[in-house]
Symmetry: C2
Subunit: 101 residues, 2 copies
């Protein structure tokens, strides 16, 4: 009788600022915290929060290297890739909406 609770949660996270962009940007390869921030124009506060959420949902992987200065790289998990595919599907759906008038 409605979206499942899990689906609603995913939907909400994906709609937050920068979430879909992070997944999209990580389509291939991994990237560092600061690189993502620069490309996506997100404040470190928001970026950290978003990455934490996406990590908690199992969509991105976090790998920290014990170096100075510190380096942390983020990449998509298989689950994250599945969700990214879904986002791409959304793009196609929205395109077809133009035709459905």
């Amino acid at each position: 009788m409605g979206l499942s609770k899990g689906a609603r949660k995913v939907l909400k996270v994906l709609a937050r600022r920068g979430a879909s962009e992070v997944l999209w940007a990580r389509g291939r390869g991994s990237a560092r915290f600061s690189d993502l921030g620069a490309v996506l124009r997100l404040s470190p506060r928001t970026l950290a929060e978003r990455l934490r959420e996406l990590h908690l949902m199992g969509f991105v992987d976090r790998r920290a290297y014990a170096e100075v200065p510190p380096r942390v790289e983020y990449s998509l998990t298989p689950r994250g890739k599945r969700v990214l595919e879904f986002l791409m599907e959304l793009d196609r759906v929205v395109e077809t909406l133009e035709e459905v008038r």
Copy 2:
């Protein structure tokens, strides 16, 4: 290099409280304002706002009858039905995520 602007907008609207529920509830047939409010447990303020947004995006149709007391019925447009299908797809995707571990 990311979700289209339109897709992001759709995503955001769908994530707001009650949006997907309204679409889902209108899967078949139409319903009145107060019925939707009762079923979805939304305050009139939020329900009105949500319906206005969904109407503006062309997902729901609004038909007002010149009666006393007033009666207004909402139903899904073809576009709305397409979006509803997409939401159902989301449910399936989230299910498959359980397997992708």
